[in-house]
Amino acid sequence: MDYSIEKFLWSLLGLFIVLNWGFLMASTMRRVGARLAGRIGVPMYQPWIDLVKMISLKTYLSHGVMYYIGPVFRLVGGIGMFLFMPILVGSEIWSNYSFSGDLILLLYFQSFGMLGMAMGASDSGSPHAAIGISRGLSQFAAVEVPMTLAVIAIAIQHQTFSFESIMQAQQGGILNWTIFTNPLASIAGMLAMLGAMSHSPFNLVKAPNEIPIGPPTEYHSSFLSVLRTNSAIIHVVEAALFMNLFFGGADTWFMYIIKTFFVYFISVFVGTVFPRFKIEDSVRWFLKWPTLIGIIAVLVAAYW
């Protein structure tokens, strides 16, 4: 792997683009939801203003060391997912720090931020945060099952745990995409994506009108701005993860933006149509159909 300064700067530029694309996508999706409700919605630049405002608020609170480190863990989880996944297929400068086993590391980074956030939020001492954490972690544990099964099925299909190889194998036409060559794994993975994006119907954990805001209920000012930054990054990176696995990756930044937009749009579309699940219902749902499809996908990939 290349560890030069130049490589680092390219990755930093990629992160900057992804961050701003995440903010723009967030406000766009809020406008889409608003239009469906017959409203106009927030201005396009609202996430940036919110960020500046949150940083400008004063804080004099201390809840302990872990309270400060929690949002940092969460941000590291998002940036880690970004850093170890190639952005564009077949590109040397936009390959980030991907290596032959990056798919496993990525699955780890997905839960890394959640666990750090859980520790930080529980340090805040708010009972609402504790309830939010137990809900969030149980839902995430249920989401992990079909997602991991889908990843295993794809790994067996392509005989590799490397993103670059999986993306290369899908090049050369739409029919080479995993969604056509391995539809069962794709369905299980895309259903798991609905949970990973934590959009409605699986947004009970952070929905403002449930137990107030969930785990980050005590987080404010700069802490909240770090969490907002992370959520902007992670929405793009999660969409890119599923784009790379199922939709052939992207060979230009234009395709990257188009494809991540539509992958994210699937979860928003489902979210505007379906109301919110209770946590026990969502856990049961993930452990039923997506898991069943995932198990069949693994068996098909192994024995077909």
Partner: protein, 221 residues
Amino acid sequence: MEEEKKDKFLAPENEIRQVAAPDGSIIEVNPLEDYFTQDRPKPYKVRKGPVEDFLNWARAESLWVLGFGTGCGSIEIPPLVTPRFDMFRFGIQMRATPRQSNVFVISGYLSVKTLKRAIRAYEQMPSPKYIVGLGSCTINGGMYYDSYNTINRLDHYLPVDAYIAGCMPRPEALLHGFEGLKKIIKAGKGHKANEYIENLDWYKANQKKIIKDWNMPDYNW
């Protein structure tokens, strides 16, 4: 004599009690002093210059309102998120927790019970924070001016940045009030939170005159 001193409104979990430590020694615990900080807040420094102007603009264009309806006026807030009024256009959003909000709409009359909760919520919000008094009840008591159970002048108990007169003001008036609040913030005059801290003794004396069962720390951090 001892019986008279005892505060009959003190919640059971806040009473002074004795706890046995692991080594067998007896420790006296006073929850109000041991579990809550008794520190007084300090006013923040008000800066000037182009950077502060930019921050003020951001604060004005991103008003996060605490979702806490205190009186009958809170019925005017839900229409703001509907297609007809749509406050999101103006950067106004609702938050469910005081930690993440910086605008508190006192919507209508404030009963003695609710005043206590309003104070607790207001003090937990990060500065700079703003209060909008909605309806005549917050100005002079309105139609509840002689009620035994409501306060008449809100600004004796909490610092108010903007009033919206009327009984009830319509949602348009509320939006107009927010626009007025934005002008105040952009002009760099939205520092009532500092005023509250500088005159904390006066505000606390007024609040304690009304709230007889004061079983919380002086300042709710």
